[in-house]
Point group: C2
Chain length 127, copies 2
């Protein structure tokens, strides 16, 4: 049953990332991987919120954590596409875009997760 | 049909990441997110190889690129879990692990994608 929950989450997350990548394909500069960036920033934010809400009582909320956290949001964001995007940008000589992309992905993603985790909800019974 | 291919890839990728995270749960230091790290490094390598092999003739190999690249490997690796792991490590005061984790994820992931993309195969008819 665990696998079914994670698998359904995986379908939702990967398709959502695909839709965003198709939708964002002609935003601003064609070479810039906006789709991956949008998925990674929004996904990091929502996983921050979600972790804060549910993972403390992981046993109680196990199926929810696995389906939404591990399955959907985990699959919605991606590290391999980010890295391959970077290698492709380097291969095409787009060095300034490489730095922009890495900086926004790294600090933006961490900032989004931080915002989701620490700033959107009061931790239940802690701090 | 496109959605089915991506969805099946998403199931495979998310379950594989889950299996690795369960298997690696007690490696070395319990607090260190080995599962995410292993998935992100190996996934970046394989997407590098895969992109080099297939994305140049993207139209011809469209279903393969979507199913394996976007679906499976994209879902296997994760950026949101990486960021939430980092926030959790910070929240637990594991600052030295935070730096180790970020450095290995960032440079290791890029290095793995680079290795996969530039070093494993000769680009078909290019360079």
């Amino acid at each position: 049953m665990t696998y079914v929950f994670i698998g359904i989450g995986g379908i939702v997350g990967s398709l959502l990332r695909y839709f965003i990548s198709v939708w964002s394909d002609h935003l601003w500069i064609h070479a810039f991987p906006f789709g991956t960036l949008i998925a990674n920033l929004t996904g990091s934010f929502f996983l921050g919120v979600f972790t804060r809400m549910y993972s403390e009582n992981e046993k109680e909320n196990r199926m929810l954590v696995l389906s939404i956290g591990t399955g959907a949001i985990g699959s919605y964001t991606t590290m391999s596409t980010l890295n391959t995007d970077i290698i492709n940008l380097i291969d095409n000589g787009e060095i300034s875009l490489v730095f922009l992309y890495i900086l926004i992905s790294l600090f933006g993603g961490l900032g989004a997760a931080w915002l989701g985790y620490f700033r959107t909800l009061k931790k239940r019974g802690h701090k």
